[in-house]
């Protein structure tokens, strides 16, 4: 079950560490005369920082449960499928969003909306797996989730931060809870499991509080005993444990990044009082510090089989505010060019209401938002028919989505995984096409 960290055909980590152009830019800016070796680059703080900033990253705002496309990105004013909310024009001529999203409407030219997602899983757990792993399940083989795949391809930059961070203040979440407890790194192995915050996983902040003087000494004592044991026995555990403890040490030194209290107060106010906003802000900070993949979730709030309109009336404006803050912040900081922001759930909602005035699961035609990281901006991809029942012409599957994500990140989407004893698997199967409308 072992897997090499870099599948063949993939770019080597060094290729991701530094773009040649940026490297030259950095050289000019720093006024350094010469750099004699590649590895030497990273001892130079200017380059290290440049590399870290040019590193491509992902923030996945996971809208678990499946938000309604009608109350967000694909309103159907005047049609029976429309809810009680009006639609409003956006900064893209002729394009309307739900009136619950005024802030996003004002920056629509920075966003891209795919309105013709078409997937085939109507059940939560299966659909979450489909949308986060990018392919239908195959019994006996666990495909890594997007975070693990990105961690394997882009992680390992000289950063103390883990390759895959999952921020989720709500440890519960029905089927999503089961998903979180499952194997999220699949055949890439536990080193690409997410570092989780939330539930029994909220441990970093406590560590900051309890970092007494003894903390370091007891760790030294532990490592003394462990080292002696490893020297006298042939112990694989000792070595593996040692590596894990080193990583934790690195994390602990960045513990402030995981502490909501330490986030800038002004920003905290802007992102709003809800934990989803606060953790999105944390994701912004983490990405700025070099974390390659941060997924933000909050249990499973979007599954509104009852009181659809009432709950969406609370959730969508919050999402509107959070997305607006995040996109404008990343843009202001020059990070959006290297940071892919995706906001999506596992499917959409039905064009019709059920007797409880809710909308049920609908994978047949739904919307998502993705922008940044060199993608075009302000593109509305595809559409649905007048009632939002079917995609109008083109449609895209999870495979198309993943091919687009990997391409945007500069990762070969069709590279074969090198898995001894396994069937042949690729990052994206079946040579599924990218969503070309989005690629610059």
């Amino acid at each position: 079950m072992s897997a090499s960290p870099i599948p063949p055909g993939a770019c080597t980590p060094c290729e991701h560490r530094l773009h040649r152009r940026l490297f030259l830019k950095g050289l000019a800016a720093s006024g350094a005369a010469a750099v004699t070796s590649f590895s030497g680059l990273f001892t130079n703080p200017v380059f290290a920082e440049a590399a870290q900033r040019s590193q491509k990253k992902v923030i996945l705002l996971w809208l678990c449960g499946g938000p309604s496309q009608f109350e967000t990105w694909d309103p159907k004013p005047g049609r029976p499928s429309s809810g009680p909310f009006a639609s409003i024009p956006t900064s893209i001529p002729g394009i309307h969003f739900s009136s619950l999203m005024p802030r996003c409407a004002s920056i629509a030219h920075h966003l891209n909306i795919v309105r013709c997602m078409h997937t085939k899983q109507p059940e939560h757990l299966q659909a979450i797996n489909l949308a986060t792993r990018g392919n239908a399940e195959r019994a006996g083989f666990t495909r890594p989730t997007l975070g693990a795949a990105v961690s394997a391809a882009l992680g390992g930059l000289d950063t103390r931060l883990p390759g895959f961070i999952l921020l989720d203040p709500n440890p519960e979440g029905n089927e999503f809870k089961g998903f979180k407890a499952s194997d999220l790194s699949g055949w890439l192995g536990p080193e690409h499991q997410p570092v989780r915050l939330g539930g029994t996983f909220t441990q970093l902040r406590r560590a900051v509080d309890s970092s007494s003087d003894d903390q370091e000494e007891r760790a030294a004592l532990r490592s003394y005993f462990a080292q002696k044991y490893a020297n006298e026995h042939h112990s694989n555990t000792a070595a593996a444990q040692n590596a894990a403890f080193e990583k934790v040490k690195g994390l602990m030194s960045s513990a402030d990044l995981f502490d909501l209290e330490k986030l800038p107060a002004k920003d905290r106010a802007r992102y709003g009082p809800g934990l989803y906003g606060q953790y999105t802000l944390m994701a912004r900070e983490l990405v700025e510090q070099g974390a390659p993949f941060v997924m933000v979730a909050n249990g499973m709030p979007w599954d509104n089989h009852v009181f659809q309109h009432e709950i969406h009336q609370m959730l969508v404006p919050e999402l509107d505010r959070i997305l607006h803050c995040l996109i404008t912040d990343l843009e202001d900081r020059g990070l959006l060019d290297h940071t892919l922001v995706i906001a999506m759930g596992e499917f959409g909602r039905t064009p019709w209401l059920n007797p409880a005035r809710g909308r049920d699961h609908y994978p047949n035609a739904w919307s998502l938002m993705m922008t940044g990281c060199g993608l075009k901006r302000g593109v509305i991809v595809g559409g649905t028919d007048e009632d939002g029942v079917d995609p109008d012409g083109t449609s895209f599957s999870e495979q198309n989505l993943f091919a687009t994500i990997f391409t945007a990140l500069g990762i070969d989407p069709y590279a074969e995984y090198d898995l001894p004893g396994f069937p042949t698997f690729h990052r994206v199967e079946d040579h599924a096409e990218t969503i070309k409308e989005l690629l610059a």
Partner: protein, 627 residues
């Protein structure tokens, strides 16, 4: 022109490193995997391009439709090697160049093959004993001899008492238990301890914990709670407590009817698959066949020739008349009609699925004409009015019979799993891959134990007792040089499972904290049970370093080990006591000095310092493994 030169130089470099006389070892340790990975997709059981199959030594020697591809002893005259060279025409694999090292490996293997057909490797003759422990030692010793390995010594009493408590009671021994055993001077005290533990209350729980995870997998709180509520835990525990014959236990799991009181809870095994028949097939296969068959869903197994697609769909058919019935107890009804499915192979040929056992027999059943409609009449059922219907002919019962009567694979599977639980690795590795692609390290031993197990009515306790009383189980840990694991010539490191780690932490610290939330936290961080690859994750390190749950064990509390140790006047004694409690041994001089220095320099109170010392021991590799 340049690369072939490099190649020959590489061969010269590598050739002396391998024992030229052992083509079999070279095949098993590398060449087979190399060909499987690179060639067998087109030249193997599924496809034989140019009539060539490269999945076994026999098929390689058979050659292609154009003749031999390998001339034993003469790599340079072998077409196989020619095709691997850069710029060869035809070049293999078509779109890839094997590394020089890989090519050298194939070359060395061909060179080592003798020109005359290899004589069958002499099998080890059966031992002159009926005693499982003696038989194990006999076969292991034969293996050490052929491998030219000197095994480790038998371990000392302190090592043994820790090891056996962890394995049979699921925890470290308490201070007084270890002391009593060490002071005991009776000649057969290890045997006596084993018998006492096997008769104890903790053994059934410890084995239930392992088998629960092996049979149904680790799951989060709710699903585990349901297993407990529905009697699955009790079913497994009583199976170990009463020492029920394993074939009877498996029969009850597959048949999934609580006809007998002791079978209550057994139906969880099928019920938990939620009417997913493929999942049932995939879950039951490792238990009754000893091998996964997941790969055979879409085609015959690509590597292990004996596993056919028909076996996979046969198992699916055995379950596909079943349906969960919700109620106070989980029940699984079965229809008397329907469930006649076909499966399609890669050539798009459709075949009817019949229950075809991997061990040979097929369960015959009258099959209606394809367009005939079957009537689901009451006389098809034992009791037509029952809430949970039982058909007169039950496919599940038929499978349960076929799997548990005269099925040698059932015994082999249990023996290999039990061996792996106790030794840290199966005689066949990975533990659930007993098939032609994964040869046993000691095939005769596996057969002997499986036969003995079946002959003694699948007596689990006899098998476990036999294993732990063998010299092989009682070997000391290796020194710096570790023998190959498949030789079982020294004790292997086994990570403790979450439950064992929790109980052992409680004993070492004297703090009891075994609530479901705590158990879940341990399981979240240490989910593995018999993993294929042992890994330590960052989550584990974070859990022991930062979790308030875990930290709770190391705060001074009344009656805790910390209080008791801190009350000892001498620092040396405190360190000694901490070592005895956690690692069941005395500290060595430097460890003692290091521990004392830590206690002296600690800025907190005496009890705090002892808590930190215990933490440093409990979180180390020596504590979190059995070795």
């Amino acid at each position: 022109m340049f690369r072939p030169l490099v190649l020959s130089a590489t061969i010269a470099l590598f050739a002396p490193l391998v024992r030229a006389d052992d083509a079999r070892t070279l095949w098993a340790n590398g060449v087979q995997a190399l060909l499987d990975q690179n060639c067998v997709k087109c030249h193997g059981p599924l496809k034989q391009k140019a009539g060539l199959a490269l999945d076994s030594v026999e098929s390689v020697l058979k050659g292609s439709e154009d003749g031999a591809v390998v001339t034993p002893g003469k790599p340079n005259e072998s077409k196989l090697l020619e095709a691997l060279a850069p710029k060869a025409d035809p070049h293999m694999p078509p779109k890839k160049q094997l590394s020089d090292h890989e090519v050298a490996e194939v070359s060395a293997w061909i060179a080592a093959m003798s020109a005359t057909p290899t004589a069958q490797v002499a099998s080890v003759p059966p031992p002159a004993t009926q005693d499982p422990s003696e038989a194990i030692d006999y076969y292991l010793a034969a293996g050490w001899k052929t491998r030219g390995i000197e095994p480790a010594q038998v371990c000392d009493d302190a090592t043994f008492v820790r090891r056996i408590y962890l394995d049979l009671a699921g925890r470290v021994p308490k201070l007084e238990e270890a002391a009593a055993f060490l002071a005991d001077t009776a000649p057969h005290k290890r045997e006596a301890l084993v018998d006492r533990l096997l008769a104890g209350e903790e053994y059934p729980v410890a084995f239930r914990e392992v088998w629960n995870a092996l049979l149904l997998g680790r799951h989060s709180g709710r699903r585990e709670a349901r297993r407990q509520r529905d009697g699955w835990y009790a079913f497994l525990e009583s199976a170990f407590k009463q020492n029920r014959p394993w074939n009877e236990v498996v029969h009850a799991m597959i048949e999934a009817r609580a006809d007998k009181p002791e079978d209550k809870g057994a139906s969880c095994f099928v019920f938990e698959q939620k009417n997913d028949y493929q999942q049932m097939a995939e879950t039951v296969a490792p238990v009754i066949y000893g091998t996964r068959i997941d790969c055979a869903q879409c085609h015959d197994h690509p590597l292990a020739r004996e596993i056919k697609q028909a076996h996979y769909w046969g198992l699916v058919a055995a379950f596909n008349r079943s349906k969960n019935v919700e109620g106070a107890e989980p029940s699984v009804a079965e229809s008397a009609v329907g469930g006649f499915i076909n499966f399609t192979n890669l050539k798009k040929e459709s075949q009817p699925a019949v229950i075809a056992m991997l061990n040979g027999p097929t369960i015959e059943e009258a099959r209606p004409a394809p367009d005939a409609k079957q009537d689901d009449t009451p006389d098809g059922y034992v009791d037509p009015k029952a809430k949970v219907k039982v058909p007169k002919f039950s496919r599940r019962a038929a499978l349960a019979d076929a799997a548990t009567i005269d099925n040698p694979l059932l015994a082999r599977s249990f023996v290999n799993h039990t061996w792996a639980i106790l030794f840290g690795r199966g005689i066949v590795h990975p533990v659930d891959e007993i098939n032609s692609k994964h040869p046993a390290s000691h095939p005769e031993l596996l057969e002997w134990l499986a036969k003995d197990f079946a002959d003694h009515h699948y007596d689990m306790r006899r098998l476990i007792r036999g294993i732990v009383l063998s010299r092989g189980y009682q070997l000391a840990a290796p020194g710096k040089e570790s023998p190959p694991p498949e030789a079982f010539a020294a004790a292997m490191e086994k990570p403790l499972i979450a439950e064992t780690l929790l109980r052992s932490t409680e004993i070492a610290t004297g703090v009891t904290n075994d609530d479901p939330k705590m158990r879940q936290a341990f399981v979240d961080s240490f989910p593995d049970v018999l993993p294929r690859v042992v890994r330590t994750t960052i989550q584990q390190a974070m859990f022991v370093a930062n979790s308030p749950d875990f930290a709770g064990f190391f705060h001074p509390a009344p009656g805790s080990a910390i209080e008791q140790i801190a009350a000892m006047p001498k620092l040396e004694d405190r360190v000694r006591e901490a070592f005895r409690r956690t690692l069941v041994r005395q500290p060595e001089a430097d460890e003692l000095a290091q521990g004392v220095r830590f206690l002296q320099n600690s800025k907190g109170g005496a009890a705090d310092a002892v808590g930190q010392l215990l933490w440093a021991l409990v979180t180390g590799p020596e504590f979190i493994t059995n070795h």
